[in-house]
């Protein structure tokens, strides 16, 4: 975890949780072949919540959030995103995917398109936004992540931190209601982690519903309203950050925290 990330104080005043349900997962199970990766997951996320999912590698945290936009298929149980149930119906999947933004560990920008084109692609082809308008939206979000001057460059010419911020802007251009972050800072140098986390904090301050898989415990303390600890495909513990870090209940959580905070 990075100390730099803690320097900027998050403003929690606008981070309010509404009682409207954004994501509801009930009794969800998932297998990879015979391997039971997610076991009886029950999770309700209200609009405006900032949830950090932590846990050792292989605990199923990435798989869990990838189920929410159907990058992974679940075999049992229900997932309801913004009132739409995830089934194999392609129309529902497309609808949910255009409402749910996602950032990946390795950014996954499109290397053959310029930064601006990366950002305008989905609005133009999925939302049918006119090109000019899409470009205005893209520039707005690029300014927000503080790299409007890179708009005409290609992803390969940017640093990792800049690429991840572009990836965030690219998702935001679709005006998503929920953002999923899959270890957004794990592939970055410490200096670049800060700039990405700052962007994420800003997003949280604006009331975005966020589910973040991350090892940045500083970010979790500052921004999250709930921390979920997973191990062996199960939710082991969830609590408010203060309580979670200062007073963990399960032994598995204590061990994990002692290892991740110990250095």
């Amino acid at each position: 975890m990075s100390e730099l990330a803690q320097k900027r104080e998050a403003d929690r005043s606008k981070m309010s949780v509404s009682d409207h349900i954004a994501v509801q997962i009930t009794n969800m199970n998932k297998w990879y072949g015979a391997f039971h990766v997610l076991r009886d997951i029950n999770l309700t996320v209200n609009e405006g919540e900032r949830i950090v999912i932590a846990g050792p590698s292989g605990s199923g945290k990435s798989t869990l959030i990838r189920c929410i936009n159907r990058l992974e298929e679940h075999q049992q149980g229900d997932i309801i995103v913004d009132g739409t149930e995830l089934t194999s119906d392609l129309k529902n999947i497309d609808k949910i995917r255009s409402e749910v933004g996602m950032c990946f560990q390795h950014f996954n920008l499109f290397p053959h398109l310029s930064i601006l084109e990366n950002c305008t692609l989905a609005p133009i082809w999925v939302r049918k936004t006119p090109k000019k308008e899409a470009e205005e939206i893209a520039m707005h979000f690029l300014e927000k992540v503080k790299i409007p001057e890179q708009a005409d460059k290609f992803p390969g010419q940017l640093s990792g931190g800049q690429q991840q911020r572009v990836a965030i802007a690219r998702s935001l251009c679709m005006k998503p209601r929920i953002m999923l972050f899959d270890e957004p800072t794990s592939a970055l140098d410490p200096e670049m982690i800060k700039e990405v986390l700052d962007t994420m904090i800003e997003l949280a301050e604006e009331g975005m519903t966020m589910l973040c898989v991350t090892h940045e415990m500083g970010f979790a303390r500052q921004v999250a309203n709930r921390v979920i600890f997973m191990d062996q495909g199960q939710i082991v513990e969830q609590n408010e950050p203060e309580e979670f870090f200062n007073n963990p209940k399960s032994d598995r959580t204590k061990l994990f925290l002692s290892q991740i905070l110990g250095h």
Binding site: N69, R70, L71, L90, D94, R97, S98, V100, G101, M102, F104, H106, N108, L109, F110, P111, H112, L121, A122, W125, V126, K153, F154, P155, G156, Q157, R170, S171, M174
Partner: protein, 434 residues
């Protein structure tokens, strides 16, 4: 520990490199004379080059350009350069080059293949050099396949028009069916309607329009086609037919739909497992057995279809290589943004996969173009087939190197251009260091 402690007080300025490592001298030292082994290798290579050129250049240039037969040639060379000089007899090229280019195409109609050849380049403009040519030209590219074929074969203008109509009908079917029955039904209709049209109605439509408004140019039979004109026709059709077909096959091979996948894998493996010559024999002889008697299925058309299918199977595997090289993150990012399968393929996956596959694709193109010479085996008069005739002519009996050298030169020009273009394209598509 003061020996360990070090602080730089001023940064060093940039200095020029040593004179022996840059410029001409540096280049020579670096590339030709690094160490004794390389120096010896350089000297030996130069000797070999000198030896080869000292034999070839006099043969090429101390030669005869005007003679009516090989015998006359030899006499002219002996008179000019002495009894023992062996010179090339280029007179045969001078006498027969038109035939080597056009086969037995009627000479008063040579303008048609020539016009088709040059409009090919105009049509290629928007595809190969999109940023230098006006965008509207793409319309010409779209009609060129029909226009070019009409120029070469001639006949009624209504035939190519009814062929185009098939595509228009397919598009209309797609637009009508998709909103009602979904995109899969739309795609099937878009494929089925044109095929039905071409098989059942197109010729009727063309001939009835022809009888009302006769409009056309003199028709030329396929058996009069020959020479490079034939090679280029087959090559161009196979090249531009095999790429889209190969892409579809490669995607089919990756498909989750079991039957589609099995069909694509079966097709690819079957075609790749059979020599092209076999397919050409099937095209020239066997196919007639299966067709209803009396069908006149043009031999060149049959060959075109076979060569295209053959190339498409190889293309599919080249494209599959490109697809496999893409990180799964690209698919996931496209999915996560809500792009559907076809949009993701068109906008994200294919541009990158094809870019990765450019060297392989162009190798396949070059291979196909050279393979067109195999049609001489089924008695089509491509340049190689024509050579047999020329060498059997009593005037030129015994001539070998000049003819094959000329052929090789023309093929080399085409293949080398393709290769250079692919390198240009790779450079152009380079976006940052990845």
């Amino acid at each position: 520990m003061s020996e360990v402690s070090f602080v730089r007080t001023e940064m060093l300025p940039e200095q020029a490199p040593p004179a022996t490592t840059v410029g001409f001298v540096g280049w020579i030292r670096h590339n030709l004379f690094t160490g004794w082994f390389n120096s010896i290798a350089t000297v030996l290579s130069m000797l070999v080059i000198y030896f080869v050129l000292s034999k070839i250049l006099p043969w090429m240039f101390m030669s005869s350009w005007s003679a009516g037969s090989l015998h006359e040639c030899r006499e002219a060379i002996a008179a000019a350069y002495g009894e023992h000089h062996e010179g090339a007899c280029w007179a045969v090229i001078r006498e027969r080059w038109i035939q080597l280019f056009f086969g037995f195409y009627p000479s008063e109609l040579y303008w048609r293949p020539i016009l088709a050849f040059f409009s090919l380049f105009v049509a290629l403009g928007p595809v190969l050099f999109a940023e230098y040519v006006p965008k509207k030209l793409i319309w010409f590219t779209a009609i060129f396949p029909f226009f070019g074929a009409w120029l070469l074969w001639g006949g009624s203008i209504w035939v190519p028009i009814s062929a185009i109509l098939g595509f228009v009908l397919g598009y209309v079917a797609y637009r009508v069916i998709t909103p009602i029955l979904g995109s899969l039904a739309g795609v099937i209709a878009a494929a089925a309607v044109p095929v039905l049209w071409w098989i059942a109605l197109a010729s009727l439509f063309a001939s009835s329009l022809e009888s009302i408004i006769p409009l056309g140019i003199e028709a030329v039979e396929s058996r009069k086609f020959g020479g490079f004109m034939l090679s280029i026709t087959i090559g161009v059709v196979a090249i531009f037919g095999s790429l889209p077909l190969g892409i579809v096959l490669a995607l089919g091979r990756q498909s989750d739909l079991l039957i589609v996948k099995a069909l694509c894998v079966g097709f690819i493996e079957f075609i790749r497992g059979v020599p092209l010559i076999t397919l050409l024999f099937v095209a020239s002889t066997l196919l007639n057995i299966f067709l209803p008697p009396g069908t006149n299925f043009d031999i060149i058309l049959r060959v075109l279809i076979m060569v295209t299918l053959f190339a498409a199977a190889y293309m599919a595997e080249v494209v599959r290589g490109g697809l496999a090289a893409l990180p799964t993150g690209q698919y996931e990012a496209a999915d996560a943004l809500g792009l559907d399968y076809w949009k993701a393929q068109r906008l994200i996956i294919m541009p990158q996969a094809l870019k990765i596959s450019i060297p392989g694709i162009v190798s396949t193109f070059i291979g196909v173009f050279k393979d067109t010479t195999l049609v001489s085996i089924i008695a089509l008069l491509d340049p190689l087939g024509l050579l047999a005739g020329i060498r059997a002519d009593s005037n030129w009996n015994g001539i070998v190197w000049e003819l094959y050298g000329f052929l090789a030169l023309i093929f080399f020009i085409f293949c080398f251009s393709m290769s250079r273009y692919s390198m240009y394209l790779e450079r152009k598509l380079q976006t940052g260091h990845q």
